[in-house]
Symmetry: C2
Subunit: 568 residues, 2 copies
């Protein structure tokens, strides 16, 4: 503290002074020309300063580092340190990260790994303790985090991750109540997840202490939540893009309660359009003042998540600073994290360091699969079929007459078979169903990213290739693979919990592009479908209409399992 004061007073020289930039002031909405003096990674003063090192930033615009209000690192398939390397050049210096996916595979050890690797890199990942592990009782996952487990995680986490179990809140499930009581006792932020909540349900949910929501799908939904005191996180992810729809909610009264987030973002988008900078750019394009857009990405997020040490360029705040070319072009030239230059011209200036943490490796535990294990025995030819909806992760529940030989489904009618192979506890569970609209031919695709329990999902037009694909996923300890006529084309290995790769973003982008192209061109997968990502969501039972877990077909409308055969 003494040194900071001495530097502020001009008695000691700052470590670094950014000279003469246009400093974006999120407190007053102004842009002021001033020097920023930095000492020990903290902003000591703004005004007229000398430093041991001085960098001329005249004509440039300086913004506080951007904060992503809600994201899942796992969705990028990047390890935490590679994730940091990917987002820092875009100006994101802090992320509120929910390690929900890895927790469903590895439990507390998964969260520990995420925290540990994040600490190596100059990026502040604030981890939220995942609240829904398992996500539902209708599937087998790798771990359970009950209320006491959550409380233990809160010793090392910043708050509680998205509370997807809204029914558990409004119907007062006892473990859910205990989780919320632990959070309240600690005074930590609890993130919400409750699209289109009803009036009374929303009162109940917010009254229980849940203060953010990133699932608003329209203006009414967002306004309802703002009125009742929630921070609304305006999401611009890869699959879910809400900013344009929600733009009308932004005004001078509501601004302070609005935050940007990405939630799930894929490597292709990270490489091309960026991260939170993209939310800001879109908002500016739509007519929001650049300073207001920056305020949403900085001060508002800091206030929402009680991060008093950041979110503004002001004395005492950590020196996370984004240097921009222009307020409207909004290109990120340089990024300082804790007063150090960590990215320049789109490139990180540090190395990722993927930890070889045994607790999150070798997480695929299932027996070798034979083709006959995947046989779909039917005692009727009128069956329920999952109907893919193009560009969406929901399905329609269809009823079709299918082709059956010797009491088994025989693939002759062109439907794809989809199986979920339990891979955590070697239960031998295999859920088997049929998929319409995927259209795979002469092969199979398998992936160990399968929301939210991350069992192995495989889809194909013959059991032999499907078994080969599952066994390949088992062999590499998780990943994405494509098989054609008995041959493995290629595999993106995701050795970290079967969710994340240990290589960098370029490798992942190249491999996913290659596998997707192969799926379309060689395996004839429907071009209206994302070959791997679509499969990853076929096991997400909490959205409509017909889904599949390792325990079988799940019908959303009755919210229970159903037999594949339709009773006559």
């Amino acid at each position: 503290m003494e040194k900071q004061i001495a530097v502020a007073m001009g008695v000691e020289k700052a470590d670094l002074v950014l000279k003469g930039g246009n400093v974006i002031n999120v407190y007053t909405g102004e842009v002021e020309v001033a020097d920023i003096a930095i000492s020990d990674g903290i902003i000591a003063g703004i005004g007229n300063y000398c430093g041991k090192t001085e960098v001329n930033v005249q004509g440039k615009y300086l913004s506080p580092g951007f904060i992503d209000g809600h994201l899942h690192i796992e969705s990028t398939m990047l390890s935490p340190s590679n994730f940091a390397k990917a987002v820092l050049p875009w100006g994101t210096t802090t992320g509120i990260c929910d390690p929900h996916e890895i927790a469903n595979v590895c439990g507390e050890a998964g969260v520990d790994y995420m925290i540990k690797e994040s600490k190596i890199v100059p990026f502040d990942a604030m981890f939220m303790a995942p609240s829904c592990v398992p996500a539902t009782p209708y599937e087998n996952n790798g771990a359970t985090i009950d209320a006491d487990g959550l409380d233990k995680l809160l010793d090392k986490c910043h708050g509680v991750g998205e509370f997807m179990n809204a029914p558990g809140v409004i119907y007062r499930d006892s473990d859910v109540m205990n989780k919320l009581k632990y959070a309240k006792k600690r005074g930590v932020v609890v993130d919400g997840h409750y699209p289109l909540a009803g009036e009374k349900e929303l009162n109940a949910y917010i009254g229980a202490g849940i203060t953010t929501d990133h699932e608003c799908v329209d203006v009414k939904d967002a306004c309802d939540k703002l009125r009742r005191g929630m921070y609304v996180l305006v999401r611009e992810g890869s699959a879910t893009r809400n900013l344009r729809d929600l733009f009308p909610i932004i005004n001078s009264k509501t601004l302070r309660r609005l935050v940007f987030c990405t939630d799930d973002r894929q490597v292709h988008d990270l490489l091309t359009i960026g991260h939170i900078n993209n939310n800001i750019k879109i908002a500016i394009e739509m007519g929001l003042s650049p300073v207001d857009a920056v305020t949403m990405a900085t001060l508002n997020a800091a206030e929402c998540y009680k991060l008093n040490d950041r979110g503004a360029l002001a004395p005492g705040k950590i020196a996370d600073i984004v240097v921009l070319d222009d307020l409207y072009k909004f290109n990120v030239l340089q990024v300082y994290k804790n007063g150090k230059l960590v990215a320049e011209n789109g490139k990180a200036l540090f190395d990722a360091q993927v930890l070889n943490c045994s607790e999150v490796r070798n997480t695929v535990h299932c027996a070798h699969i034979k083709a006959e294990d995947l046989a779909l025995k039917l005692n009727s030819d009128i069956v329920r079929v999952m109907g893919i909806e193009p560009h969406n992760v929901t399905t329609k529940s269809l009823v079709k007459k299918v082709s059956v030989t010797n009491g088994e489904y025989d693939f002759k009618d062109g439907l794809s078979k989809i199986c979920v192979v339990e891979r955590h506890k070697n239960t031998g569970n295999i859920g088997i169903g049929l998929l319409d609209g995927y259209d795979i031919k002469n092969g199979a695709i398998a992936v160990s990213v399968a929301h939210d329990s991350h069992n192995i999902i495989v889809c194909g037009d013959n059991d032999r290739d499907m078994a080969i694909a599952v066994n390949e996923i088992k062999r590499v300890g998780g990943g994405m693979t494509a098989v054609h006529n008995g041959n493995i084309f290629d595999t993106l290995e995701l050795p970290i919990a079967g969710l994340m790769c240990d290589k960098d973003i370029d490798y992942i982008a190249t491999m996913t592009a290659k596998l997707n192209e192969y799926a379309y061109k060689v395996l004839s997968v429907n071009k209206q479908v994302e070959p791997f990502m679509t499969l990853s969501f076929m096991s997400l039972v909490v959205i409509p209409e017909l889904k599949i877990s390792d325990r079988g077909l799940f019908d959303y409308s009755s919210f229970n399992f159903v037999q594949i055969e339709v009773e006559k």
Copy 2:
């Protein structure tokens, strides 16, 4: 939590529903017609509800309870429970209270008393641990709170009270540094007090963790502080009224960082114009939208002081609700605190309960004073004189030729004598000086409220009446008294630390009016001067130009003691 949810869901009836009012929404700037359902003192839901008790508030406006961002209860001379009774009817339900005055008399025990008595009444006094006890090293007070003492107080206080010792911060005094480090470690709010700080000084002060200021005197001062990240508390006190001067700083960008406060408010104003409602009314009169004005008095203050449980009418917030007749007339009809009706039509519906706490009683410890103890011996007739500035608490440092007989000042030239009698530790210290512009005749006035050490100040035109007045203050254990030609006219007893009365606001208002009238009419005190309050500030050595403590005359410009005689 379960019950709140059940009420929110409409499964259980609310304790109380305020039906159909115009609900002020500080999150969106809207006013919406809705019911407010309250359960166990908490807002369970807003919408359409039934309750065990229902109150029709159609046509009325409902605001969150007002929060005073900074105040000293002692300045009203009301005890905490009587203070609550006085402000609740005006809609103030929470106050950030700095018990700086009583701490200077009684130390930690004084703070304990304030906390204890406040808890009896339906008012949330959030006490800040006084940071400057004693206020300066140039006077004797009743207690010392060093860094460790402050840390101990923080176990029971909400944050750290106004950090008046700005030089101690910018020059890195070690005890000051330790105080700020303790506050930082606990993550509590530290209030500031730094009028017209320079650019570098402000960086240093804010960087040290001080986040509010209520001493802004003009637009530039306030803007400087807003830009560097401070919350600016816009004060409308009795002596210091800044709202009209600072009004231009309020705009849609800065609003969220602006809070209302009263700092020091006297009983007359409390009875007539009110409290924070008065700040709101003035702001509305000046053109601020009523909802914005309410937002300053509620949500902004809650955010500034990290009071997540209040500041808005929303589920999960405590049910502190002000019922208003109209957004522009802004008359308070009813006040609910924790869901209970506590004031109606200007009257509190509860009783004060003054604690008879021995630690804060009988705090006047000095010997019986004789007239000759107050003799001013002079070895020169050219002396320094404190020149009162009408309507101000500063003085001019004058040099005058005075009338001396037998080596003693003899009163023949019409100046008043002013003495500060140490009353905490019976040191026998008496500071003696001369006062120009007070003009008292044939008597004396004495008071034990004397900033910031609260010794006894007495002023008169003869030593005999002055001694009588001091001895009367000693006899009653602190108070305000007026003496005329050897007779005590009347005394307002302030038995609580010599600062606060144990009677209600009407009694204090009557007594102070009576004593002031007597001072003007019988003792001929200058009508440009507040007879008692002006004296109370003559011992405040940290403001210009010539002041007096129990240790002698103090010169602000040299910031040290001076002899009364001017060297020739």
